[in-house]
Amino acid sequence: MSDLIPFIVAKYNYWIYITLMMIGLYAMIAKNNLVKKIVGMNIFQTAIILFYVSIGAKKGATIPIIEHAHGDAHGAVSHTIEIAHYINPLPHVLMLTAIVVSVATLGVALALAIKVYNRHKTLEEDEIIDQIKGI
């Protein structure tokens, strides 16, 4: 038990993202309402965005812009650049694209839900399946 807590705390970002992901997956599998499933799907995608953002973060580090690097030859020589002082911006930049993708997916999914509602007058999946079988 005493080993477990540091084990969880040391990698807490992974635990949080897995928990979120499983909440999303649960909603997609277990919920009967189509919009609730769509929201679950969005939570699922957000969990992965959180994962990427957290692997790029670093304690006590700043954005990777080097001050006085241009036009100041003395400054550039005197400063030694340590990697530990700067975060890796790439995962964050990738997630800008992934956020756009997840917003677009959410939009398409909700539009489809509207189409389903117009046709079947309900968003509950079991009622729709009953309708399809009844026809």
């Binding site: 997609m28 994962f51 990427y52 677009a104 997916t105 999914a109 489809l112 189409k115 046709r119 729709i128």
Partner: protein
Amino acid sequence: MSQHYPALLVIVPLLSAFLISAAGWLNKRLCFPIAVAALSVACFSSVLLLFQVLDEKVVLYKLGGWSPPWGIAYSVDYLNGLVLVVVSVVALLNLIATQRNVEQEFSEKIGAFYTLYILFVTGLLGIVVTGDAFNLYVLLEIASLTGYGLIAMGENRAPLATLNYLYMGTIGASFYLLGIGYLYIVTGSLNMADISAILPSLYHSKTVLAAFVICIVGVWLKMAFFPLHAWLPNAYTYAPSAVSSLIAPLMTKVIIYVMIRLMLTVFTPKYIFSTLNVSDSIVWIAVIAIVMGAILALGQRNLKKMLAYIIVAEVGYMVGGAWLGNRAGMTGAILHIANDALMTLCVFLVVGNIVYKVKGYAFEDLKGLFRKMPFTMGAFVVGAMSIIGVPPTCGFFSKWYLISGAIQAGHYGFMVALLFSSLVNVILFFRVIEISYYEPFENHHGQESHPGKIAEAPLTMLVPLLIVAAGLVVVGVYTGDIVNHIIEFAIPKGIV
């Protein structure tokens, strides 16, 4: 000019998609010619690119002039050179063949339809041409989102089927993204060639194993590999006919290309076949996929759904062949990507022609069609022969390579599954041919109409279909050249 083919391949269709959507507001007649022009440019560049690859082996295109590990690079080698030609040719032929279907099924939405069509093809071409793992995810989502839009334009049950496809497809793409994230943690790179250069020292890392498992499951979801296939039949059946004949030949095949690319370039053959001991179990899953796909196809009373289940079985062929771990199996899998795209296009175009004339695709609607549409049904017979695997057609040769790969690997279960599926295909297609040849045509009042009266689909639909049907035989005859000059070099030397 010639050094810009990889970029032209993606940029021209992408920009034309916006042009088409603008043209849709001005004059709907402009949309189709712009779409044809855009795909012709893509087709032309992909063919020239293949010739360039035959000379130079690898064509590397640095977007914006940034060199690979930092910038995004498009890299074309023998493997994706071939797939690019297949994708662009199939998309162009289908565009021309289905013009009348589109006018008939949704004349008021022509602008939106062609915009989505061209964007979808852009996404697929981008997936195939890119050498960057994250770029692949973005293009995969472009192709998927436009694909959802296209399928949802279909008849009454289409929106619900699309929504199910969207749930599964999003989980698949998200898994792929997650797997790439794990790879990025350990390698610090997103470029495929760079990752494979860094990986050998990390073969026993658990993170790489997690990355591999998550990526492969994601890709399987997207390609409808058997236990994860549930979304495919309904989505492909209820899609409009112009869309099913585009998505059915291309989407699954391109994702199989992605799997082979992950196996050969990103994770390297040494890792997946030697370090991991999973290939045997995956081939067994493929065996189940083939058998179940064939059995489920037998239970269908409607032509389009039957073909959709045959696709599930065909996916099993290619996954199994790729995971046999020998040269013949891999050759069969890559050859089958091209062949299956062509033969699926052929049979789905036939369905499109039937829908255009008869307004239905259930088995009862097929009665007497050999009299009514002899050329369309002739093409259907050629396509059916190819799917069954009868010698002069191309389907025979890829099946031959797959079976000899199975014998070489000593995997007789896979061989039996392939033969079983061929036999079931014989039953499936001869049942369709029997209904349409022997049973008299009935019109909707139940009376027999004039026998021997030909009411064929218009020439713009018929000519592309006959070209595809002839293509099945031509590709079959030239299989030796394709294998010796292209596929032989697409497989790394490590696989014997």
